[in-house]
């Protein structure tokens, strides 16, 4: 006897959407979240302990103690890392997941992002591959994400590059003082620009207020609840049906199989003060939406005599191709003030270099930046030749905090199978569950693209009136972090992919992965809208087959 039609593990960008679609279709859904539902005050405004700058801690989970991972550096030495360290590759663990505290850029991927291998060929040593679906297949679901979550943008700006049938439901974010200079600079260079699409209310939408223009989008919660995550849109809709039960502080230990090896539910723990109790729940399907690192970890930890290498892992593909984005950035000193204290701060982007760059595989988008707290600025944005202390350092902050123009953006990762998540044989979390072990890097072609984008960033700033321009050299790393993707890639061939185009594990008819893990490649854009679009598409499919 099943307790539920579907159990969904993780209430982030994807899990929240799947819960909503399935509950509204009349299915009984159990939505399990390892973190808590966080209020605005729970998230707080600690400048040193947030998702953007997490020097001593986090504001959106997981807890710093008891949740380690193991990181293996490119030289092969490994160490145990905590959630606030960069090498942990954390994403928020709370209701809404990363969408509770994200910046909310709402990019669609470019049509060529779905056919990277066909367009560029496969570089030696990389696992570059095409998606099993095209942009056209996903287009209606992008539209749905934009309308059901709520996105603001200018649908006409780059519709010749990234076609769309319908405009955004809300007008684009208003310009900031730097916007006109960057538009003019790009025009001089002959580059296309577009307002940055955001999942932020630029006017009242679906009963929630417009943005109040505070300075705290990335890494924090929104004071007027104008930033649209799954926690304030689709999850409340799911709960309102009466068909969805949300359990928080719940850690899924393993996906269970019956006496014939078929998946029949999950075993989980409730993290209560003092004791942790174990429970099981039975369902017709299990949907894993825990993010690219934790989803892979859960599949690998779900070993049994039937599935000795974990679930979906018949061909050693689960956890491979971990990717995210190298984030290339450049800074310039503007002759005029570019900071007026009005958020979000990010306004204008160029998609000129996402593709068709001579000698480069892929490329990326460049945009101006969200308002940065001064300590973030001190760590991130100072010229490399500026002394790190003394009167010169202080006076640079005094004179130039409001005059430094920033452009940055995600560069498309060229994946390698060796960039991967495995489970560590020794290290366990506080519940005794083996932790994720992260190793490898992306392909060096990523660094070549990042270096190209660094030069474009500097070029844009110079054309926009900046005299002094600086940037940091990119290096070969494992990327992941908030943009983590790729570890259960979808595809047609069970030997080279983990799931089919719907996120169904090839060897199981009732196990689905729905989150960034599915991304075959991760585009040269912030990936969340693609995660959301795929979630709508898979959820429709799963709701249909369960009928």
């Amino acid at each position: 006897m099943n307790d539920y039609d579907a159990i969904i593990v993780g209430s982030g960008a994807a899990g929240g959407i799947v819960a909503c679609v399935m509950a509204e279709a009349g299915h009984r859904v159990l939505l399990l979240e390892r973190g808590s539902a966080l209020s605005f005050n729970d998230v707080g405004r600690d400048h040193l302990r947030n998702q953007r700058l997490s020097i001593y801690g986090h504001n959106a989970g997981p807890e710093i103690t008891g949740n380690p991972r193991v990181f293996v550096d490119p030289h092969g030495s490994s160490r145990v890392v905590s959630p606030h360290e960069l090498d942990y590759h954390n994403n928020a663990a709370c209701v809404g997941g990363g969408t509770r505290v994200y910046g909310a850029q709402a990019w669609r991927f470019h049509p060529d992002d779905f056919r990277m291998a066909t367009k560029y060929g496969v570089p030696n040593g990389s696992s570059l591959s095409d998606w099993p679906i095209t942009y056209e297949t996903l287009e209606p679901f992008y539209e749905r994400a934009e309308w059901e979550l709520g996105a603001a943008g200018d649908g006409s700006a780059i519709s010749n590059q990234i076609p769309r049938k319908r405009n955004y439901p809300m007008p684009a974010v208003a310009p900031s003082p730097q916007t006109a200079a960057l538009v003019k600079g790009a025009a001089q260079l002959g580059w296309v620009t577009t307002p940055v699409p955001l999942l932020i209310n630029t006017e009242e939408y679906q009963g929630r207020a417009a943005c109040v223009q505070c300075k705290y989008c990335v890494g924090f919660a929104c004071p007027s609840d104008a930033k649209n995550g799954t926690q304030n849109t689709v999850i409340p809709r799911a709960l309102a049906t009466g068909n969805c039960e949300l359990k928080t502080n719940t850690i899924v230990e393993r996906i269970d199989v019956d006496e014939r090896g078929s998946i029949n539910g999950v075993s989980y723990l409730i993290d209560a003060s003092g004791t942790s109790q174990r429970y099981t729940a039975r369902s017709r399907v299990v949907i894993v939406s825990a993010g690219a690192i934790e989803s892979a970890r859960l599949l690998l930890n779900s070993r049994s005599s039937f599935h000795p290498h974990g679930l979906g892992n018949e061909y050693d593909m689960v956890g491979r191709n971990l990717q995210g984005h190298l984030y290339q950035r450049a800074y310039g000193l503007s002759p005029t003030k570019v900071f007026n204290g009005v958020g979000p701060g990010v306004t204008i982007a160029t998609t000129q270099f996402n593709h068709d760059n001579a000698g480069i595989i892929g490329g990326g988008m460049l945009a101006d930046d969200f308002i940065k707290p001064p300590i973030d600025f001190w760590y991130d944005s100072l010229p490399p030749d500026l002394p790190r202390w003394g009167v010169a350092n202080k006076q640079f902050l005094r004179d130039n905090f409001t005059r430094v123009m920033h452009v940055r953006g995600p560069v498309q990762d060229i994946p390698k199978a060796e960039g991967r998540v495995t489970v560590d044989s020794d290290v366990r979390d506080k519940w005794g569950i083996p932790v994720a072990r992260l190793s490898g890097t992306t392909h060096p072609a990523t660094v070549a693209a990042a270096e190209f984008m660094r030069e474009r960033g500097e070029e844009w700033l110079r054309a926009s009136g900046c005299e002094r321009v600086w940037s940091a050299q990119p290096g070969l790393i494992l990327s992941g972090r908030q943009h983590q993707a790729g570890t259960c890639r979808m595809g047609k061939d069970p030997k080279t992919s983990v799931t089919d185009e719907w996120g169904r594990a090839h060897a199981h008819n009732n196990l689905f992965v729905v989150d960034g893990s599915l991304h075959v490649t991760n585009g040269g854009f912030n990936p969340v809208l693609t995660i959301m679009a795929l979630a709508f598409r898979s959820a429709d499919h799963i709701a249909r087959i369960l009928r």
Binding site: L48, G341, P374, F377, G390, F401
Partner: protein, 134 residues
């Protein structure tokens, strides 16, 4: 911790000018709290570094760090930053100095709730805020 030396050190790192220096902005309070909480395991390391700065000053300029001229203080810290130390250090000078510079900046530029940036002085100085947080 040697507070007299610490006060002089943080003011050399972020000196007073038209806007408060690190000490007046509460950076020593920030550091005290930090090394009693998040970095409690490194508080001995940090204290040893502050004492070593003073020893370095005495060897170079025959006086405690707090009594040196600003130019002498700067020369002392520059030597430590580059690892070019004259006295015997029981901890790696550059690793300590990196932690010192970072935590001082954190105290000065992060939110006043942490104990530093008193009166939001750095936020007003930079233009991040127009007035102190209420």
């Amino acid at each position: 911790m040697d507070l007299k030396t610490l006060r002089a050190v943080v003011d050399c790192l972020i000196p007073p000018d038209d806007f408060a220096g690190a000490y007046e902005a509460g950076v020593c309070d920030y550091l005290a709290r930090l090394f009693q909480n998040d970095l409690v395991e490194q508080s001995d390391f940090f204290s040893a570094g502050i004492e070593a700065i003073d020893a370095e000053a005495r060897l170079r300029f025959n006086g405690p760090f707090a009594a040196l001229t600003p130019a002498q203080q700067t020369l002392t810290l520059q030597a430590i930053e580059s690892g070019d130390v004259a006295s015997a250090w029981v901890i790696p000078p550059q690793r300590f100095f990196d932690m010192l510079v970072n935590t001082t900046a954190e105290g000065y530029y992060s939110d006043p709730q942490q104990g530093g940036n008193r009166g939001s002085v750095s936020w007003i100085m930079t233009g991040f805020e127009e007035r102190a947080e209420s």
